[in-house]
Symmetry: C2
Subunit: 204 residues, 2 copies
């Protein structure tokens, strides 16, 4: 059965976006710093149709693993709306993407294996479709933070991987805002680089 | 020259204490969960004059290293006031402890090599005395959070080691509250266990 996992960048002080996050500034002021580590990662760049970058190091391996294990993606409508304009063709997913939304829409088939499906029946319905699409592979809950929290609260997430950036934002969107202190996480893997610390948690 | 380091437990959402921290409840509600990982560590227990525990694993090695490298300690007056009543005899430090305070007081010599010295001239003066006392060893800035932030802001800290607990507190005392986003940290070592993730940062 597919593992359902989320994989998120977070600042050392717990933020996934800086202050003033809004359409057009989805990561908020300074929020790009959370993802600085990935900018030079070869596998990431290749998926964005960008040349160059560094491969073969732990950061590259983490990104490659994340793409390889994902047989389908689930994302919130705001993340989709922000990405819709920015993702290159082909988009980086190369797999079915289930978008949580309130507005029905026909599937949007794009190059390279990415098809966006729009699901109006909520997270559990989206996850069922994602599991079906993923087959033997895993399902990634891509974000944003609110969608990840929704999956956590509903007990639908098996794993949470945090890419802990060595930056302090001070304010913004807190990943765990409103998450119950009853959440039980167990660190099952940690991989470090000079740019970021990747910690994988099993959700118990 | 001594390395000046801090070594602090923090929740995954960035708190070093839970809500309602006050004298008599210094870690706040639920704050003990941040330090759950250390409760069974043999070296820690031995320093608290407690028998038993587990040795020889990464968590034990981290605690042992922390005690071994410290030739002197600096702490804030509130941490001292809370600890004063609770530390066993001999206290766990077994080295000079420089206490930042506004109230002059004669040195307090305790068993096992721990002497508390009370410094009224501020962090830099305390650090100079700690360096002198530490000799070839390092200086640990023990806390609390406010004292660590004071040392960070003054550029007096070389290293920050976070023991990242897999717990969510939701509210309380944030380690990086008010710390400038200009702080530059570089992860230089990461060691994981099923209970906690130890990340050491160089302060640049």
């Amino acid at each position: 059965m597919s593992t359902v996992y989320a994989s998120l960048g977070m600042s050392l002080d717990g933020f996934v976006a800086g202050p003033n996050a809004r359409p057009g500034n989805p990561l908020g002021d300074g929020g790009l710093r959370i993802h600085e580590w990935v900018e030079d990662v070869e596998t990431w760049r290749e998926r964005q149709s960008l040349a160059g970058g560094t491969g073969g190091d732990p950061d590259d391996a983490i990104v490659a693993e994340n793409f390889e294990r994902a047989g389908a993606y689930v994302m919130g409508r705001r993340m989709f709306a922000e990405g819709e304009l920015g993702w290159p063709d082909p988009p980086p997913f190369r797999a079915p993407v289930l978008v949580l939304t309130h507005t029905p829409r026909e599937p949007w088939v794009r190059q390279g294996g990415t098809t966006f499906h729009f699901v109006t029946e909520g997270p559990e319905a989206a996850l069922a479709l994602a599991r079906e699409a993923a087959g033997e592979k895993d399902v990634q809950v891509s974000g944003g933070a609110e969608t990840v929290r929704e999956f956590l609260a509903a007990g639908l997430l098996d794993e949470l991987e945090i890419h802990l950036a060595p930056v302090v934002l001070g304010s913004g969107t807190r990943l765990f805002d409103g998450v119950s202190p009853d959440l039980r996480l167990e660190p099952v893997r940690v991989i470090g680089s000079p740019k970021v610390t990747h910690v994988r948690y099993r959700v118990r």
